[in-house]
């Protein structure tokens, strides 16, 4: 049955997902100039993949409630767009033609994603607060 706690759990899953997205953005921004990685070559920007996941069994959902789902980051994928090449023959990571590959991170794009992530997080917080207020006013019904 869907109730107060399942609503809060769903919001919490959204908060966790947005926090993961914030981690990927932080990683992309921090590595915006990284030209060396363990896998070789320049850093490739990463993106989280969000997936709708059914609520766990403990909520005992009726068939019509099954479509209500949590969100989960099930995968973090690398962006395979090529990075931009800069001619800097003195750099140790430059190729034989003297070109150095920089990561495919676009700082402006990451800033936009960051605004989106932090607003989505705030929206999740608002939805938790609204659920709390609903539960709180429902409990005030007991007072006469």
């Amino acid at each position: 049955m869907l109730g107060v706690f399942s609503a809060i759990d769903i919001s919490a899953s959204g908060l966790t997902a947005e926090r993961t997205r914030m981690n990927t953005i932080a990683s992309n921004l921090a590595n915006a100039q990284t030209t060396r990685t363990a896998a070789g070559g320049a850093y490739k920007r990463v993106d989280p993949v969000f997936e709708a996941i059914a609520l766990d069994k403990m909520h005992a959902l009726t068939p019509s409630e099954r479509s209500v789902s949590q969100v989960k980051v099930t995968q973090i994928v690398q962006d395979q767009r090529p990075g931009h090449m800069v001619y800097s023959p003195g750099h140790p990571d430059a190729n034989k033609d003297g070109y150095l590959e920089y990561p495919n991170v676009n700082v402006v794009e990451e800033m936009v994603n960051m605004i989106s992530a932090s607003r989505a997080y705030e929206a999740g917080i608002s939805s938790v607060e609204a659920t709390q207020k609903m539960a709180s006013s429902a409990l005030d019904l007991g007072r006469v």
């Binding site: 107060v4 706690f5 809060i8 919001s11 919490a12 908060l15 966790t16 926090r19 917080i125 938790v128 709390q132 539960a135 709180s136 409990l139 007991g142 007072r143």
Partner: protein, 107 residues
């Protein structure tokens, strides 16, 4: 001598609300277990409130000790515990109200 409902009473017997009909024994039948059932229900509420409070406590301790950095998860566990405990306390208040209502009854 057993006391039964008055035959042909003009006042219809109160029926439980349809949402609770499956959980509450219909009036008129012996209800020797009604009080026990209510007590068990309340105990279940206490156990659940306790479980949530313990979860919240563990998470807060882990956060304070630096073992976890799940800020929103901890805050949410704490407020879930608060809601569950308030529900339990409200039910207790209602039960106590009912008890005193009968206690103060003029005989």
């Amino acid at each position: 001598m057993a006391i039964g409902p008055v035959e042909g009473s003009p006042i219809p017997l109160l029926q439980p609300h349809e949402a609770f009909a499956s959980q509450v024994a219909p009036l008129g039948e012996p209800q020797k277990d009604a009080l026990t059932a209510a007590g068990e229900g309340f105990l279940d509420l206490v156990v659940r409130a306790n479980e949530r409070t313990q979860t919240a406590q563990h998470m807060s301790q882990a956060l304070a000790a630096g073992q976890s950095d799940d800020i929103h998860g901890t805050m949410i566990a704490v407020s879930e515990a608060a809601i569950q405990t308030r529900l339990m306390v409200n039910v207790k208040d209602k039960v106590m109200d009912a008890f005193y209502e009968i206690w103060r009854m003029n005989v």
